[in-house]
Amino acid sequence: MERTETQEIRPAVGLGVRADQVGVRFVTPRGGLEALRDLSLDAPAGSFTVLIGPNGCGKSTFLRVVAGLLRPQVGAVAVGEAAPVAGDGRVGLAFQQPRLVPWRSTLENVALPLELAGVAADDRQERAFAALQRVGLAAAARLRPAELSGGMQQRAALARALITNPPVLLLDEPFSALDALTRETFDAELQRIWLDHPRTMLLVTHSVGEAIQLADQIAVMSPAPGRVVRTVPVELPRPRPAELMGNPRAAEVAAEVRSLLAAVHPPELRPWGEDVA
């Protein structure tokens, strides 16, 4: 990948993520399901990579592989130098659903990673509270997840993923359940958090606009079994606004990503004028 201006002014931080011809197959009662085949991806340290593709193309499966929750049967993944190990602190993961523990307060949920690591109670309370302040949730520290809105729940989940300061952060469509306006704000905030504390980011999304706003590179995925069809670099200055379509380079990237998606994905992404049969 050609080095861009933004990458030159930012020192390399975090750990790079490399996937080399990864294949994952699930055994189901009705035979096998091949989720990933020949997936290769290079996410340099400190870069922001967005994986895009429709539902069922294996994006979430790939994130689980990078998080060390799932071992690929074929190929290899490296986070930094070594294969991923679940929960070893190199990788943080925010899921599509907030996955907060319902009987714990927001503060206790955010402090959970520290609690599991054996951090003393005072220390973890303090750090969790600081993490909540960063995502604007300090006032909700004592509330239970059920008392929070969907957006607040996702912010708490993000605070939980960030509290151990992992060099790699994986985001599995974390804002997909939010309304469009909230989502724009969250994307802007996510960009700010990343610019303030750079690390390697892998974000999964369906939204081309979100991808262009956030990504250094957009990895377009094929339908299942998923692989990266092409990686499209996005060379635009940061911080980027939500609405970039007036920018000729952004429009170019959007057109390229859309045509790649339409080429590999049957038939829903094509104009209705073309017969699907």
Binding site: A86, Q97, R99, V101, W103, L112, P113, L116, R144
Partner: protein
């Protein structure tokens, strides 16, 4: 306040129907004694100290048997819930043991364990074991797999997943098992006493029924057992409310 009023009202209705049945039927006391006859017999049994002596023996058996049985059952339930292998190996024995009537086992256990308090505690614990173990197993398995995956992604060890997720998720179901178990513990104590004991409410029932033909005294023992069951059930409920309060 309203809960207490409702309970008192229902108790009054129960006594009234009982009273009406004895008045209309005109049964002799050795078939169905009237409430006031039972109350008077109860007052005498309390005054003489007999009732307390028997009740204290049964209470001790219930408390010890329930505690031992519940702790063992929760431990077993966690193991059964977490390991399919353990479940496959052990559950046939647990189910079979439950299917064998405790009434038949009690005399045998009485011989094996020397006919003392220990034997009665074991009978009590056995009868309590099944519902609590099954409830715990089901509860442990009801833990949200998405939360378990989240914990694994944060590096939680299996024991941390058990303490932070599986046991808290299982608590409402476990308390359901404890409620069933605590009432069974009272039955277990009586059955154990029938198999061989010299004191206890079960013994008192036997004395009243077969020895003295004192049906009012038998009713006193039955009412005491019912109240014992209610009190223990209420205690479990109180603990449950405290533990599960949001």
């Amino acid at each position: 306040m309203r809960r207490i009023a409702a309970a008192l009202l229902s108790l009054a209705a129960f006594v009234a129907i009982w009273e009406a049945a004895t008045v209309i039927g005109g049964y002799p006391d050795y078939i169905l004694p009237a409430p006031e006859v039972v109350a008077a017999r109860g007052a005498r049994a309390i005054a003489s100290g007999t009732l307390w002596q028997h009740t204290a023996a049964t209470l001790l058996e219930v408390v010890l048997g329930f505690s031992v049985g519940a702790v063992a059952a929760m431990g077993a339930g966690i193991a059964l819930g977490k390991s399919l292998l353990i479940e496959r190996v052990l559950s046939p024995y647990i189910v079979a043991a439950q299917a064998v009537p405790i009434l038949a086992l009690a005399p045998l256990l009485d011989i094996w364990f020397g006919g003392g308090l220990l034997a009665r505690v074991i009978v009590c614990a056995l009868i309590v074991f099944f519902p609590i173990a099954i409830a715990t197993m089901v509860g442990i398995r009801s833990a949200d797999p998405l939360l378990a995956e989240m914990l694994r992604s944060l590096g939680a060890r299996p024991s941390q997943i058990t303490t932070r997720l599986e046991i808290p998720s299982a608590l409402p179901v476990i308390f359901g098992g404890l409620r069933v178990g605590v009432t069974l513990a009272v039955i277990g104590a009586v059955v154990a006493e029938w198999a061989g004991a010299s004191v206890g409410l079960g013994v008192l029932i036997n004395i009243a029924n077969q020895g003295l033909f004192d049906t009012p005294l038998m009713f006193v023992a039955l009412v005491t057992l019912a109240v014992t069951g209610l009190v223990f059930y209420g205690l479990v409920l109180a603990v449950e409310r405290r533990v599960l309060s949001p």
